[in-house]
Amino acid sequence: MSARIGTNGRLLNRDRAVTFSFNGREMRGFEGDTLASALLANDQMLVGRSFKYHRPRGIVASGAEEPNGLVNMGEGNRFEPNQRVTTTELFDGLTARSQNHWPSLEFDVGAINTKLARFLPAGFYYKMFIHPRPLWKHVYEPFIRQSAGLGQAPKEADADTYEHFYAFCDVLVVGGGIAGLLAARAAAQSGAKVIVMEQTPHWGGRAPVDGGTVSGSPVDEFVEQIVSELDAMPNVTMRTRTMGAGVYDHGYVLGYEQLRDNAPEKPGPRHRLWRIRAAQIVTATGAIERPLSFAGNDIPGVMLASAVRDYLVNFGVSAGDRTVVVTNNDDAYLTAFALNHAGLQVSAILDARSIDSDSPAMQQARGLGIRVLTGHGISTVKGGKRVSAVEVCRQDGNGSVTEEIACDAVAMSGGWSPVVHLWSHCGGKLTWDSDQAMFRPDVDKAPTGATGAPFVKAAGSANGLMSLAETVSDADAAGKAAARAAGFTPKRTKAPVGESADEAPMQPVWLMPAQADYHHRAKAWLDYQNDVKVSDVQLAAQEGFESVEHTKRYTTLGMATDQGKLSNINGLATLAGALDADIPQVGTTTFRPPYTPISMASVAGEARGDVFQPIRRTPMHQWHEANGAHWEPVGQWRRPYAYLREGETVSAAVNREVLNTRRNLGLLDASTLGKIIVKGPDAAKFMDMMYTNMMSTLKPGKCRYGLMCSENGFLIDDGVVARIDEDTFLCHTTTGGADSIHQHMEEWLQTEWWDWNVWVANVTEQYGQVAVVGPNARKVLETLGGMDVSRDALGFMEWKDGQIGGFACRVYRISFSGELSYEIAVDAGQARAFWDALMTAGEAFGAMPYGTECLHVLRAEKGFIMIGDETDGTVIPQDLGLNWAISKKKEDFLGKRAQERSHMTDPKRWKLVGLETLSGGVLPDGAYATGEGVNANGQRNVIGRVTSTYYSATLERGIAMGLVLDGPDRMGEVIEFPGTQGATFKARIVGPVFYDKEGEKQNV
């Protein structure tokens, strides 16, 4: 059994007990525990069920590489699945539940899958569920979803907040182990600005557990000393609980800081995503121990040797009373020594290596009375929910059992793999080190920046240097080199000297025993989290999957949330073996950020709730809000769709607004319409290029409706242009078009016509603009008093500056509704007061505000097009019967040549017409009209579609516009629009102007 012991536990505060619960059971730990160490201290070996076979799984590792110990953390609005127990700090009141089990962790029905293992081989989804097709959706997928999968999805919105932080530095050091600290110091001594981040709450990494000395001091004391040194340097920023998640182009690095996952009661954001620009990056990310592939290596109680050591030294937790160490290297002996030192029994060290004479570590072990069997390994681990014994065999044999050793823990070590993830994210290459059986950074092929110079350096064990002595000198050199590359002069100091015990070479072991039969290989796990075994990878190779990337996807090796941190190298070595290829030939899969999963919320940062998106508000926004506005998003603006009165439906409100505007007086907040000033000696020439119309002939004081096309001829925007003076135009754009048209103008001025003397400025928000519309429009303005707005003083399509009701304003006599209409612009700071004045004065004339839907109905009744309804990026003005707005005199304008291309002049292009349903009802929006026959795909031919459709309260019937084949030549014809649910609508083709065809009303 695993248990807390009285000694060791350097990270614990034994004076502070902490209570937590696992699967509803109350447990106790200490401050400083991880959830993993606390579970083990409570003899909770079994922490979850595997993904596919629902096999019992226990904690394997002690850090970020843990594949099994994933739990559902928290409750309600703080629930989060897939949290790793090894990196979760214990706090009082923590609640966790194991995942992927049903009905319970101890008894899981899905475990029957393990009996069916031979029917669930690699690629089994592809093989089994392909036929018959319909069964996938209705039978197979629901079953697989029920039986597979890890954590549950949260049901409630996250209660916490998150944020970003932008930081800049000369040298960023990822990893706060001995290498990271030394590199940071060496860099910082040059004066460079340094950030050093460490994913755990503690500095020093593995070194304090593994021991040794640096410059004569025990390594843990040296760590304390260097941390206080760095703390005192003003040019160094140190962050614990901050993981270097990804390295990107141009020295961009994401750091993931967990601010209070260890103390949920604290105020403030939960996670902070550091968005860092660093001139140079040092990856001192350490190394990860590899499991050995033997049968039963997934039974709870089988752990990495380094993890057994960590739990003992850091947390005072023994993984078992009797431990068998199985290894191919000397490093695992440290675990045996630590156990022995703590008074725990090491039943045997099974060393797979066959070497002539004992290494110093072997000698030391034997000296301590520990049994060492060289050339031996594990044939099978016995046990179900925990280890009960190991069957010993010769490593070079086929697994014949030489003896059985009873034990309750197995500490395994297959060697170490440098953490090369961050080195690789931005293109750093790897090289195979056959002596140490590891991929390590290829120093000649580092990630390169904009100048072609390397911007990432690996240091210490992340660089493949596994002894303390090598790590120390490498880290010092890396820190100095990074500072130099960032433009600083490193201090000419000697590197500290590290000393640790000599180690004999490791010997790669990819399968234990080497000649294991199928039965054993099918129980030798490579990927714990995705349930991939040695036999699966061999099967994939047999079936022709030679590429490691293909094998990964076929077998799901390395595709789980741990991204194959433990399984990668063993998996590809197995593949290489099966293909009879060299490991470097097979290569690795691609390392992609983040290093370990980061919260989605940290990526979103502050963007949630009220500030999820910037909502743009006009000066009258609050009035609308207080007066029943039913909002419509238009770009990022919110515009009132209609103003609802007590008990009124939206459609009733729209109809009321339409009738009132036609009969009395409507007020529209038109502030969102774009307003762009174009000025300069070449302004008129520029305007003639931007618009299809002739704008240069427009007289100052006059307005003209204009169309804008892209260079491909398609209609992109429309609006009224006012000529302010000889050199100055004011262009109104659509609400959504203000920014894009401004950019469109700037682009042409900056890239094509850079020698034209024209300036443009977007002044949209300088003004609040109100459309005063209806038969009483003039009356209300005259009541407010001020400038002369009579028919003679201010004719249709004219503008004037003046004052109304004491407000300085510019009045445009333009109409988008067919009614007598003025659009009046005042400074935004006075717009609300002006609106209030209009509402008050308008009361006597039946004034009502109207929203965007009423605006749409009014314009549709008049047959005016709407950008985004009648246009969709494929429509040219000629399709819409707007030939009158396309100048034939101009030599050129944007879109002119495109519109002369054969497809654009094709008479078969659908053209705009009005549509009246025979029933008087409303056509469905976007409905297609069907014609005779079928097309090449056997579908009915279509001959047109509805672009706008409304109920017209004025005409008391449905009206619509649409684009129809030969439409203008087919007036009076009836065409059919099949709707949904079997209904077919019949509509007569008519002219697009439904109301006041002569345009009398706007001209009064």
Partner: protein, 190 residues
């Protein structure tokens, strides 16, 4: 004519790690023109008394401030009640030089973030090096603030001014308050 109002009527929040407040209305004029040309520089100097600042800088003289916006744009800050006169004076001083001078006072909203942690609040939202020494009073930066465009400068140590589009005033105020929330000190600039 009524008294002009700002977008948020002077909203203030001091619940967090820095004080966030809407600033008083200030006159703003955009001048587009070749700000490296002698004619434009002379016109600016004669009206405001300030010399045209270099890239990323601002220059103040009396109640006028010139802010470098781009090689062909300068933002002129002046008291709100002198905008009209300043606009006319700039136009006249430019003479025949090709410039566009336009009042943008009401097109903008303006905020201050103040306190010892003001730099940190801003560095949560703007991708700019705001460390002491890297950004100081006298510098002027057009940038992104969370999801919108903004210009920022420091009128004095421990105080930022932010200018954004008026329609986005509520968003900017709210997002500054989120960034300044209690318990969110970073400790990066200590």
């Amino acid at each position: 004519m009524s008294e002009p109002i700002t977008a948020l009527g002077g909203a203030v929040s001091q619940n967090g790690i820095a004080k966030v407040a809407e600033a008083a209305r200030e006159g703003m004029i955009t001048l587009r023109g070749d700000v490296t040309s002698a004619a434009v520089k002379k016109a600016l100097k004669s009206v405001t008394g300030a010399a045209m600042p270099g890239a990323g800088q601002m220059a103040t003289s009396g109640s006028y401030t010139l802010c470098w916006m781009s090689p062909d744009e300068v933002l002129v800050l002046c008291p709100a009640d002198t905008v009209g006169d300043t606009l006319t004076a700039l136009q006249n001083a430019a003479g025949t030089a090709h410039v566009l001078v336009v009042n943008v006072t009401d097109a903008r909203a303006s905020f201050t973030v103040a306190g010892p942690l003001a730099r940190e609040v801003m560095a949560k939202l703007c991708p700019v090096d705001l460390a002491p020494g890297a950004f100081e009073p006298g510098m002027f930066r057009r940038t992104r603030l969370a999801q919108v465009a903004a210009a920022v400068w420091m009128p004095e140590a421990e105080r930022f001014r932010i200018v954004c589009f008026r329609s986005q005033a509520r968003y900017v105020f709210d997002v500054l308050c989120v960034a300044a929330q209690e318990g969110s000190a970073v400790g990066a600039f200590n």
